[in-house]
Amino acid sequence: METFDYNLKLIIPEMFLFVWALVVIVFDISSKRRNSDSVGYLTMAGLAITAVLLYNFHGGISFNNMFSSDILALFFKVIFLGSAFMAVGSSFGLASDKIKNHRGEYYGLILFSTVGMMFLSSSNELISLYVGLELTTIPLFVLAAFYKDKKTSVEAGMKYLIVGAFSSAVLLYGLSLLYGFTGTTDLTMIKINLSLLFLSAGKIGPGLILAIVMIIAGISFKLALVPFHMWAPDVYQGAPTPITAFLSVGSKAAGVVAFARIFVHGLIAFVDPVMKPLDWGIIVAVMAAAAMVVGNITALRQHNIKRMLAYSSIAQVGYLMIGMVAVSELGIASVGFYMFMYLFANMGAFAVATIFEDKTGSSSISSYKGLSKSAPALSACMAIFLLSLTGIPPLGGFAAKYIVFAAGIQAGYYWLVILGLLTSVVALYYYANVIKTMYFSDGNSDLKINIHPAARLVLVIGVIGVIIFGIYPEPILNFAMESAALFALP
């Protein structure tokens, strides 16, 4: 190690957001927790300012290759900020009611977790990656258990903590094995060293298999890929709904970017079937297939909208991983694009669930009966989000699925794509079931739902994103293609 170069300019957005989180907490305490809305608006403003800073300070490598502010990181940071923004925006109802004594902590923790995600997406090195992952996850443990009087919420936090710790341990074990084989934590160096090792020795022993499987398992926890998904429904159901949304989008996106960094960049050599039995492609493909099947089919029998969305998000990650295992420029771009569309649709759907839950206290699907009469706009938003998640043209979800499947076909994963298509049909059933309940069942029609302006903003962002980028996906897709070009894949 010659000189330790650090370019603080590159981490200005992260530092700002970190400081802002402290400001939010202090503001809440100093204002004696009276202003229920201003804390939330302050948080949203911080996220918006971070986005502006991000736009101004990106591009470059710092801290001896540990922090890479490249375009892939930028793309995912936009998603993180977006999901945090939408989660905060839909939290105003809880903030004024259920968590009124801990608003600052609630918003601050969301921001801390976001900072973690941002560091994670920029890390080009195992240690910083791991630290970023922990910084992402630990605030989420707390947030999941934020309704400390509620048994389910506490249980959710507890389960998330145990499983999260377990997965972190597994991941760390895998990472240390990798370090042992290559003698470096720098992903680019790992790539080079492994190639050299492979060339000189002819083969690499089963130890690397252990490392690969461990890392896959560890990251799959974050992604909730089958069979490492089992914590997700319980946690999603118990956690405060905006946190569930944040978990299902932000934390997943973090997992995706970590996976892309380690496997598509560092272990790129081991996706080739020639590398059998070292290739990780087939393992991930099978896991993606299992995720699509288990996620979609289990969702069929759910009666709680959050739990249903939890299973649906398990399935969505399955679709997303088709693009990942394609290991092509189009594949990685499709993953990014899918995540972007998923951000709008899923955050939107959870926002509707939050608004509804704030008003009625119920998250059961059957309580949505006749919602189209009492709250037509809300129902219409929900219908649009769910149809986008199903992948109905011309909404964003369709374009996303289309591109992911196109990448899969390009890479020759026909069976995976066909399975994806078939399970999409199954998915339609449970998504449409909600729409049916809202539109074609009679229910409590004198329900009055006032949507908070911030939540309204979230819904509008979601609907516009889903529709505009569904019809005109060009800008996002080009952005994703540019970021995917980073890995110099075929």
Binding site: S167, V213, M214, A217, Q237, V294
Partner: protein, 690 residues
Amino acid sequence: MLENAYLIPIYPLLAFVIIIFATRWKEKLSSAISIAAILVAVIHSIFVMIAVIGRHGVPFELSVPFIEHPLISLETGIFIDPLTAVMLLVVTIVSGCVQIYSLGYMHGDPRWSRYFSYLSLFTFSMLGLVVANNFFMIFIFWELVGLTSYLLIGFWFEKDSASDAGKKAFITTRIGDLGFIIGILLLATYAGTLNYQEVFTKVADGAVPVGVLTMIGIFIFCGAVGKSAQFPLHVWLPDAMEGPTPVSALIHAATMVAAGVYLVARSMTLFVGSAEAAMTVAVIGLITSFMAASIALVQNDIKRVLAYSTVSQLGYMIMALGLYGFDVAKDPHSHSVGYFAGTFHLMTHAFFKALLFLGAGSVIHAVHTNDIQEMGGLSKKMKITSLTFFIASLSIAGIFPLSGFWSKDEIVAATLGHPVFMFFTLLIAFITAFYMFRLCFLTFTGKPRNQERFDHAHESPKTMTMPLMFLAFLSVFAGWVGMPWLSHGFSSFVYTGELQHHGPNYIVMLVSTIVAVSGIGLAYTVYFKKKISADVLMEKFKPLYTLLLNKYYFDEIYDKVIIKPLLAFTRMMWWSDANIIDGLVNFVGWFTIKWADAKMLFDKYIIDGAVNGAGTVCMAASWLFKYVQNGSVQFYTLVVITSAVGVIIYKVTPEGFVYYFIGVVVVALARFLMKMNRPEEGNVETEPEG
């Protein structure tokens, strides 16, 4: 005036539209509009004629693309050369005369406005046909005149005979039109264009093989055969006399039936390219002409005599054109006058034949019958009508110096070098003179054979006699433009190929005059002086008389050979429809129902079973997965470790994975059986289904 000549057809079209949509209820106004439109068209046509004369034979063309396609481009436009200009004048003048005449003739008709609107529509169609610059457009207008002809023949559709005649005319001409469109399609295929000038240039350059050209010529001639009532499709024209007499004058004497002649003249380049096609045209023309003239000898219906006369004269023109084509095909520098003769006769014939029909209409208007055996001595009561009728008869007989003389003379001249044609042409000229004066003498001279009708008779009103006089004027003088002594007459105005100027042929003039005078003399002897009894002649030539009276049995032959077998065939088809086809259909229906029943069972149990089965399987799997999700974190981590270990084992030793997998399944089953009744823990949903 030439640039906006496309307006000439538009005037009557506007009249038609205005009458139909606006002024239908105001009869006087409707007819006024119609006549005003045609008068404007006449004036415009005169200006066009002047402009065309000024251009010294250079045609004027205006074309607008209609459909652009790589294979063929269709266009709409106008093409005006001397022939077009002549046709425009003829059509507009005759149409104008007829419309004015109709004011008197149709007096009191309940469908007055409709009549005039139809006349306007016809005039529009006919003018459009004349100015069209390509075969596509001419075909459209060709069909339009057919339609208006149908409408006007059947104008008094209460009469069965009228509506039948309309149908007959429409269907018979349609047979010819089929040939016409085949010809057009062949032309489009081989020449790649339908524009007259482009087609003719290509044909003249030899772009179309001669064999194909013969086919195209004959097919296009089929259209002319139908429209101009040539053998063997001539049968509709006599029946078409069921329409109002002015209509017969306009459509079935002067203009529409001349469209066939116009078509042949227009497409002369095609016939010049194929001597066979040209000879076919000439032969058909001669047969038609002779046959029709001979039938006209014995008919007693005044309009039918004129109708057969028309057919005969059209045959004349066609023959002349055909002979021209043949002569030029054989020798490009031939001095044949056929083209000039045919088109010239077309013009003169239009005037005197329209006059004859209108005169006949005047007579019918007076005595309310068509049968000449019930007339006689009418010249005493109808001075103008009889005088003009005699002038027209002299003209058609070819008496110097009436217009018919000049044109008929040229037709005879056109047969020079074809002895058979010449013989028959002179024979026909003789017959024509005879039957025309038979008609004149029987109608206007002698004693009235039906006193009651005679007493009732009166001269027609001014609106009818004025057109008669005007047309009589034209019948005398219109032919003078074609006098062989003129160095810039008709022959050097309307021509195709090389400009040829022909001097007068005095021998031909003399012979044809002798023939005409002897025909008139014979008629005078038989029907005026009654030196020879017509009845005796009738007895003497009984079989021939019967044959002619029955028009060579054409209608009967068609009835026996075509219509009866066709009806029998259709009856057979009807029977087979009713029994075999319907039986089959009913069987298929019955079978389909049974088959559907079977399929319903299949659908119900197999397909629905599969669909519901898929659903059930999904639901069952869902239940299983849901059961596995038992809420226990310890179990979750167990699954994780089991899976991870499984993957590692699979990667290291795929065979060992099989044992591992079996072991896991056994343990899982055992656990499942042991703990099946254990209540679920934690967040696992306990809500009832609903």
